[in-house]
Structures are given as C-alpha cells and as structure tokens.
C-alpha cells in the first residue's frame, strides 16, 4: 500500500496542533474531520489557559480569535432558595500576556484549520474515519467509507469517545463513573450589555462557577463564560450519578432550573438562545488513561483522557494542544528515522512526562476521588448558605449571639466525623 507520512483523525485542538506541526516540518499530513469544518462537532465549556501552551504554538496562541481575556472569577454556592457569591480579580489579569481566554470552538478551530492548511496540511472535512488499517500487527492507515488511505503514522485525536483507541485495543469500554456530560446553551446579547452586567471593560471577560443545588446533590456544577457577544451557560453532570438518580432528574430539566435561577437569569435576561449543545468530559484522570502508543499510532487530547477538573479550574484544551504538538514531534522524529514502531514512538510518553501534561495529571491523580464526595454537593453548600442566612437575618424574635448561631449551624452540618473524613480525603488534592 502507498503511504503518506501521517494521518490525523479529528479536527479538534489536538488534531489541528498535530497537523500544523507536521506540515510545518514538511511532512505530508492529511487531517480527516467528520464535521462540515473543524470545530463544527466540538464543544467547550468556555475557557482556555494559554500560559502552559504558548511556548508550543506561540504564533497560534498570540493571534487566535479568542473571545475575551478573563479578569474576573465568580464562585457561587447555591442552596434551593439562597446563594452566596464571591468574586476574585487581580490587576495582573488585566495586563498582557493574558492567562486565560473565553473561547467558542466553531470559530477558533476553523481558524486554526486555515493556519494548518496554510502550512501545507490537507484538511478534509465531512469525512468520518470508520476504522484503522493494519499491516503486520501495526496500524498502517485508515478507512473512510470506500476509501483506504495508508500512512506511516496515525494520530488519533478523535475526542473523548475515541472509537479509534477502542478499535486499536488501547482502551477498554468507557465506564459511566469515569465521565461527565456537559450541556451548554449560548445566549446572544449586545457586547456593551455583557460588559455592563459583569462590570467589564472592553475585551475583558468573566468566568462563573456554580455549585450546590444546581446539580441536586450530584457530582458536577454549573458554569458561565462571557464571550464577545454571547454567554456560554451550562452544567456538568456525572454520568453515573445522573443515570442512577432516584428523583427522575434529567439534564434538560436541571438545565431549565439552572437558567431559571435568579443568579443566572439576571445575566442571560433578554438574551436570545442560539444553540444547545452537549459533550462528554473525561473525569477519571490518569488512572483510566488508555495506552498512548502502539505501532504506527499515537493518541492525543481528549481521546487520551487528558482533562483535569479541580473544581475551581477545569482544563482540557491546553492538554489537547500540548499533546497534539508532542505527538507530531514524536512522529516527525520517527519518520525521519524511517521507523514508526511502538518502540520509537514511545518517545511520546517521555515527552509528555517532561512537559506539564503527565506531571499535572499525576499530581492530581486523586482529584476525582476527592471531588466525587456527595457532601461536597449537598451538605457544604447548605451549611454555607444557612450560616450566612443566620448572620444576615433579623426577624421578630430576639437575636441569638452570632457565635451561638454559627455553632448551632455548624453542629447541624459539619461538626461531625464525615467532615473529618472529607478533610482527610482533601489532603490528596
């Protein structure tokens, strides 16, 4: 079979980064994307941290069509009828180079694809890769419809579901407890209205996280990001908890309740709903990572399970970009040596270990275990809200001493052995 240098499966950030680097190095590379254009099947919650990846793709990171740089973090803890919000901002976030940006993937990815094409990558949309081709126990290309394309290296960047990794026997079936589903709505509003509502200057953005009764006690939380003239509003829900909940709760109804909360309604008020999307997120961390390397094949981005949810920060896109670049660098080196065996390609893992990707995944190995404690989504939000309720409320009776109130509420919720267990678990984070 005739072979080109490399095939990339999937036009997300991992795949595009890989194709860009391969093309830049003068390698023949075809990227196959099943959507109408790269980005059209991709969804993000909303924010990319550019610090970790600027050095991998400086020209892309510095000119990408991001939405707004984030200068304000808002955290809201909610009970059924009450909420406590806090905001954090720092002057340094208002000065470049910016730490993080809000982003919409249809726009960013299709722009990125144009940059990769300009470097010489062949970006072919509307092509779904059905299966891998094999030769002497090594991956040797792909099959898309009636077409077979041979390649010395296949980079699977086909997203969190990654049928390629499964077909290659590099990972087992997905388990509900290892993944979450994100549901997102896009609301269009005037730029100035967004800036006024969030207290932002030109180009500045805000990011919001919501935890507590928005998931009715299930693992997950809400998010809100300000784009240029739209808001991204959504919920992340553990698939296992959603599947096994006894209250008949489903994602659409939770989303309706979330956007109906006054804490969210005030931001999206008057906005026109433009899109309703959903996507899965790997939440299991390094413990369930697939094999990353096989003969003739590398796995990058979400397909490799590279994502990290630490509650207050949720990351994925940086891992995708960095791993895509490193997959390309590994492939380039192997192609130059005319050897794309598993042994040569294993340099990919070494590169990942020497970067931030695997060390970060390793440091936060237990993040899911710590965050997936039900009390975090039930008892603590209720405690915080009730405590503030007691402190702020003046009613007709005589007021109890503040310390006595706080102690009573704390006793009710957190002065117990379960809290100690949760604190002990938190040491693993």
């Amino acid at each position: 079979m005739d072979k080109i240098d490399a095939i990339v499966v999937g036009g997300g950030l991992a795949g595009l980064s890989a194709a860009y680097k391969l093309a830049e190095a003068g390698k023949q590379v075809i990227l196959l994307e099943r959507g109408d254009a790269p980005g059209s099947k991709n969804v993000t919650g909303g924010r990319i941290y550019v610090g970790p990846v600027r050095k991998y793709l400086p020209e892309i990171m510095d000119s990408a069509p991001f939405e707004r740089h984030v200068v304000k973090e808002m955290v809201t803890v909610l009970d059924d009828t009450s909420a406590l919000s806090c905001e954090y901002t720092n002057k340094k976030w208002r000065q470049g180079p910016y730490m993080s940006y809000t982003v919409l993937r249809a726009r960013f990815d299709s722009w990125f694809a144009d940059q990769a094409a300009a470097k010489g990558a062949f970006i072919i949309p509307k092509k779904k890769v059905e299966s891998l081709l094999w030769e002497d126990g090594k991956v040797a290309g792909i099959k898309s419809g009636p077409e077979e394309i041979g390649a010395h290296v296949v980079i699977a960047a086909d997203g969190a579901l990654s049928f390629m990794a499964e077909q290659a026997g590099m990972r087992g079936p997905h388990k509900p407890q290892n993944l979450a589903v994100a549901v997102k709505e896009i609301y269009q509003l005037d730029e100035k209205v967004i800036e006024d509502r969030f207290g932002l200057e030109n180009d500045e953005g805000a990011a919001g996280l919501y935890m507590g009764s928005v998931t009715q006690g299930m693992f997950g939380g809400g998010f809100l990001y300000t784009n240029r003239d739209t808001l991204s509003v959504g919920l992340v829900l553990g698939i296992h908890q959603l599947a096994s909940n006894d209250h008949g709760l489903d994602a659409p109804s939770l989303m309706e309740s979330f956007t109906g909360r006054p804490e969210i309604r005030r931001f999206i008020k008057g906005g026109e709903l433009k899109e309703y999307s959903a996507h899965i997120i790997s939440e299991a961390g390094i413990g369930t990572m697939p094999k990353l390397v096989a003969g003739g094949m590398l796995i990058a981005g979400d397909a490799a399970g590279f994502a990290l949810n630490l509650g207050l920060t949720v990351r994925g896109m940086e891992f995708a970009i960095a791993s895509g670049v490193m997959a390309a660098e590994t492939a380039i080196e192997a192609l130059n040596q005319n050897d794309t065996s598993a042994a040569t390609l294993s340099g990919y893992e070494k590169r990942l270990r020497e970067s931030f990707v695997l060390p970060d995944m390793e440091t936060f190995r237990n993040a899911r275990e710590v965050l997936d404690r039900q009390r975090l989504f039930t008892v603590y939000p209720r405690f915080i809200c009730e405590l503030f309720d007691e402190l702020f409320t003046i009613d007709d009776g005589p007021k109890e001493g503040l310390y006595a109130s706080a102690k009573r509420v704390a006793k009710k919720y957190v002065l117990n052995i379960d809290t100690i267990k949760d604190l002990l678990a938190a040491r693993k984070l």
Binding site: S40, N42, V43, A106, K126, R265, L273
Partner: protein
C-alpha cells in the same frame, strides 16, 4: 423564557441522515428496569412506547455526545457517529 428541549434543539444546525446512527437491541431493553438512557440523554431522544413497551430513540435531534452509549451498561445501544456531512453542526461550540 422557558423552552422545551425540542425547541432548543430546533435552533441547532442539524442535517439528518435518512438512516439512524443509533440502534437498540429490544431484547436487552425489554429486560431493563432503570432505563438510564431516558435520564441521561441531554436531547430527550429516548422514550418508551406505552403500547408496545418497546424503547424508541429519535436519532434526528442527536447532539452526538455519546452519553447514552456510556450510560447503558447493559450494552443495548449500538451507537456510531453519523456519516460525514450529517448530524449536528455547531455554529458556536
């Protein structure tokens, strides 16, 4: 302000194939009591036909997240991406 999920999906750009990319094994579904697919699908595509008792999936509004495939631990769902050119095309993402 409240919208039904069907109305929300109608806002998306979706090109539907004539054949479904989601197939159910009714004999497995018949033995399932939890019907996790109904709860987890963000597009509300799953339902049970009250007359026949069979599970029904409307592939046309699929958001292609794959949550149903992961949630159905009985393995009843055969799910693939729609072929190239079809399915949802996110304009924002």
């Amino acid at each position: 302000m409240t919208k039904k999920v069907e109305e929300k999906i109608a806002l998306n750009a979706i090109k539907n194939d004539v054949k479904s990319h989601i197939l159910l094994n009714q004999s497995i579904c018949a033995g399932c009591k939890e019907r996790m697919c109904i709860r987890v699908c963000p597009a509300h595509l799953y339902s049970r036909n009250e007359e026949t008792g069979e599970m029904v999936v409307e592939y046309a509004g699929c958001l292609e997240c794959g949550t149903c495939l992961i949630a159905c631990t009985y393995g009843s769902i055969k799910w693939d991406y729609p072929s190239g050119e079809y399915g949802v095309q996110y304009r924002y993402g």
